[in-house]
Point group: C2
Chain length 392, copies 2
Amino acid sequence: MEQLFNTSEYHERLRQVKLQMEEQGVDVMLVTNPSNMNYLSGYDAYSFYVTQALIIIKEKDQPFWVGRRQDANGAKLTTWIDDEHIYYYTDDYLHSDTKHPMDVIAQLFKKWKQDQRRIGVEMGSYFLSAMSYETFRSWLPDATFADMTRLIGNVRMIKSNQELHYMRNAASNAEKAMHAGIDAIKKGVPENEVAADIYYAQISGAEGIDGDYPSIAPLLLSGVKSSSPHLTWSGEVFNGDEIVTIELAGVHKRYHSPLARTIKLGQPSAKEKRLGDAVTDSLNQTLNAVEPGVTCGELALVWSDAIRKHGFEKYDRLGYSVGFSYPPNWGEHTASIRQYNQTELEPNMTFHLIPGLWEEDCGVEISETFVVTENGCETLANFQRELLTKEP
Amino acid sequence: MEQLFNTSEYHERLRQVKLQMEEQGVDVMLVTNPSNMNYLSGYDAYSFYVTQALIIIKEKDQPFWVGRRQDANGAKLTTWIDDEHIYYYTDDYLHSDTKHPMDVIAQLFKKWKQDQRRIGVEMGSYFLSAMSYETFRSWLPDATFADMTRLIGNVRMIKSNQELHYMRNAASNAEKAMHAGIDAIKKGVPENEVAADIYYAQISGAEGIDGDYPSIAPLLLSGVKSSSPHLTWSGEVFNGDEIVTIELAGVHKRYHSPLARTIKLGQPSAKEKRLGDAVTDSLNQTLNAVEPGVTCGELALVWSDAIRKHGFEKYDRLGYSVGFSYPPNWGEHTASIRQYNQTELEPNMTFHLIPGLWEEDCGVEISETFVVTENGCETLANFQRELLTKEP
């Protein structure tokens, strides 16, 4: 099957991760975050809802893959690693009262004499549940454990040129999907029909760019639902006077380029206009402040200052590192654009900047995904940046 | 906003859950599985990728909801519980090196004098990470903890008539999406175009039935990829001689009715035909054996016996309880149709029965979602049940 990157790029990633392991005093990593597994091995399947892991031993040239038996063929097909490095457990370990897949993984650690070492684990991953971790530890009383949730994510923050190529393609898919959604919103049309058009555009993709499934469903927030950013569509029809927010990502080969816009059917009220102006202006000012060496915390202050001039006081998180991901989330869970965050921007970092303002009865979101360049930033998508309006 | 069930149904669910808590000696439940949160409160948003919880105190008539500040409006809009029961944490707790949302949740346990009690936790949930659990525990040294991963799931297994109504609607959406997928597969068409058509049909839904986002992306496995059941589509075009498996769910108001079919472009080979006959025959025999009082383990034996007559020896899990869910998975993670499983079938239980046979270079999957009736079962979708063929 098609390999998304040259094997040399996987080797370079592994080298970078091992440098971080060395710095952190970690001998072996139990990688359970599926995005991190893919980053190092290329493994790509919708199988992460069961226990699976990549094991990185500092002295070994290749990772080991361990997962469910029926997924082992997929590991052979999609990874660059040798078949002898693919291990599996059988189905009797799934959702059992007496067994757990971590029993098998821990036994491999013993077999490979990794049971007296310092093991890095991703304790903040969705895919290392409290049960998984306790089971794993219980088998390895002589090992020590260190939380390395962000170790691989920190390496992933800086994108290669090939990764940026995929993200620019993803942005083209985002533009197409956003146009499809806005075009579909009309008085009398059910919300789910708009969502269906968005999905169709996301997956069919822009010309020559195959779309992939998004790690978050398209968020379609109409009327009062625009006051809360994570509600989804229903089967109700548009009345023709709503404010509607769409947040979606274009996706290409699992790289995400998110984009949010708010659109008003008919004329915006004074309140909606004020929210729209504040969000647009603060987004522009924040983008203008992006350059290498600036910290995420400094960017957040630019934003807070900008909205204050419009009469808003708010210090929420307004962005995060983004790129490759699997459900349930497209953020990388490393740097947050938020007060006090000390992460310094570097070229080839990529962020979703999504300043939103929400009142009790409505809200406005306008966002951009950008890559940090040598002297500023490049927004990946090209889409009218303001509170949009449309005849109902 | 529209409430999916009468408040009395939520009260009845809460009563059932409290009976189970009583039986297990649990005073208070920290519910982090978003499907369980919805089951008891109605809370519906794509916000579960950050920490959130429902807290069930045995003496209280209503649950408490705790989540991210920007999601609190959504909790007020979608749940039946009073606004005074909605609590939130601020964004500085997200992905921080020094704070965790569980700090806030644990403080509420103290404030409500729940810190010396026996607390049920869902240790196997994707949404109670090792880090969340350790943080929560560290604040509550005088409490005791009990793993109750399946407590609410066991109550959810038996569906109400209203739930079955939603699942039958979901099955109509599944039929529509499967037809759309099979119709779209043609020599020269890229795989992602087929996936786009499937998504469009899933979300627009059958006549009068709004579609919802699926908890697993549609799985589209062509050629050698059919040998591994969880691979997804690419941008490659169909050659016109492939075997192709589609596994998808119709979804309505978050209730899922999964359906899988395998289709051969052109004439099946002898091997493909043999796989198709074995899967079809064993699926039919297993469905015929369904009735109240039979155990999941007994069903699995019917299946193993049936495929043995076709020359296959296999004891994998071939089904699981299904219904309401959020990503990343649509299974309920309670009963598995698998050897030795002692769960007795009862009327109004719902399962996805998905016997698959995979060889090194191809595979066949044919599945049905069924509800257990008084004297047998009803399959929810109506779709030709055999290895399908199509002119390329």
